[in-house]
Amino acid sequence: MPNKTFFWFFLPTGLAMILFIGLPIISTGIQSFYAQHDQVVKEVKKCDPFGCTVSIVVDNEETSKIREAKPLGKFNGFGTYTDRNHLAVDEIKKFWNETENFGAFVDQVTNLPFYKALIFTLTYCLFVTPNVLLLGFIIALSLNAVARKIRGPLIFGTILPMIVTPLVGSLVLFWMIDSQGIIGANIQNLMNDPYLSLKSSKTLTWITIIIYGIWHHSPFAFVVFYAALQTVPQEPIEAAIIDGASRFQRIKHIVLPHIYPVVTFVALISLMDNFRVFEPIIGFSAEGSAQSLSWLIYDNLVNEEVILFGSAAATSMMTIIGIAILLAPVLIRTWKEFKTAR
């Protein structure tokens, strides 16, 4: 496609992307550098049905004057990024100096909310993405081999986890692993431990969420791989069969190289998706044991009675940077291939 045609073709999408994705990101970025003005408070008498007390309220007259002068808030630079609830620069320095061995240092750092969330998010990505790719590929291969007649219903059954709304899917599993649910109660019986609970143990909660993630995301990989498998040319495969190549060798040397670009694509998309893991945490009520970066943003925006825009914005920006870092190797590789292909 000539560049000019491409430009006109892309223009509407590009404009929409700038308007609905680019500008909000810029606005979020700006927001993350600001904090609320210092609160002007005053002591007043408060009376309710249970009696009167003297305590403080925000002085709205004074506050609105300051707000009108500087509606964005107080410039905080990287203050929000470096505070304890985010990168915790000072705390980490302190831990480094105070702790005696590296293990204790890691313990202290992973106790900080941002790092706690980062570790869960990365663990989730690292376990879910490769397994989704592998499982999706295996399902695609097996389905590609079954008779055409039953393929339709099988495909439908396989993509069901993706059709089910994530929240509903996780809720169903949540009830099943309840200590009185079918899975939870059976595991208790099996282990002979009435206090065993999949929901209260951190490790078991993580495992549950990861398994759920694999279950939920595999169909996507499967659908894409299955489509790609239809494009694998038959001639080289027949030639390989004549040459005596085993099934495994055929897949390794012909099928995989052929669908390689698709694998990269699926890997990219699932990495991005998994880095933003959120619904299962809500669905499993797992806030206590597992927090992800997206959950931190949600927490700052809705769980507090006071909305922390600065915090949420800072975490959002860092999530974007995190995704960029994760994707960098794959993107660089694709770019290089693109260059050589030309």
Partner: protein
Amino acid sequence: MRKILVTLLFLLFGTSAFADCNIKSGSINILANDFPALRTFVETSKQCKGSADFKVTHSSEHNKIAVPALTANPSEFSARIAANSSIVPLMNQDLIRPLDDLVKKYGKGIQDSQLITIDGKVMAVAFMANTQHLYYREDVLKDLGIAIPKTYEEVVAASEKIRASGKMQYPYAAAYKAGWNLAEEFVNMFIGHGGEFFKSGSAEPNINNAKGVATLNMLKKLSELSNPDYLTHDSEAIKVEWESGNVALMTLWASRSGTLLDDEGDPNITKATKLTGPATVGGGNIPAATLWWDGFTLAKNRPDADAEATFRALAHAASNKKMVADAADQAVWLVEGFVPGPKSIGVIEAVKMGAKPYPMLPQMGLMHGALGSEIVEFLQGKESAEQALKDVEAAYISKAKEQGFL
């Protein structure tokens, strides 16, 4: 405290006065939490709408909508049914209007004790009271010869006895779901220990002390007697546990007693379900519970005509003797003419025992948020009480700095 007793017990003899219901214009749009008493309240106010436009949104997610919806100008809602804690963000952002004029003009039936005044201005009109208190299974306690617990130490002892008897494995329940609910349990227990959340006259946190540690230890003891999934259980979940007969002692909101004691579920359990006041803890004499009121506030960013119409409709409900007589089971109404029934025992006992109201401080929401996420690891046995409290304070300080409180 005396005021509420007066309200609750003696107001049968008050003068009768109904709000004038001849509303000609304006539009009314109410945002409220979703439980039976509030539905009754809003329905009652609807009877009075006249020719005004009337809309209502009942949502358990009301807290998430309130501030953005009232910030808009004109705001989406003309009224918000708020409580001690949820009025604070509205006050912080200056989103609600003083009601003095309207009370003077249209608030004939509203009693003085219903008025929430801040700095001399009426900011809300309360109509019901709430608290968390103990529920117990009379049959189970009788069988084992256990007296009705008055303190959390007795709750622990009783639960251990029930467990030892083999009747129930997890005899105690409370809403310990990580987040708001768990933090609320901490707030109750900390207040029961006589704690103050902030150093006097400042927003500096004050929980990393002996009282904080004692609070956490008590929560942990209770959690060990609860269903192991306690960190995922909210009020609704423990209600279900109770109705399945898995629990003999429970701390739950008074406003939920109505659905707990209704005809649904096993009649034997319902019959044996009894209410008592909140427990004290650590030898303290005030209960480990906080008092709550629910009341209505009016949005500032709304034309005066709407505010007037809304006030008149809501005031009609907030002074409606028929409503409190018909729905006496649903709540502890603060409205004139309410005769407390057996389901109101919890709140009345709490008031008698001198329970404190939930702290109505501008920075309390931040403390509540920090508690909800940072004490979980202590309950899971992953860190010490001191470390957990240190974490809460540190998380709170960062948030309070961002919000400009420190």
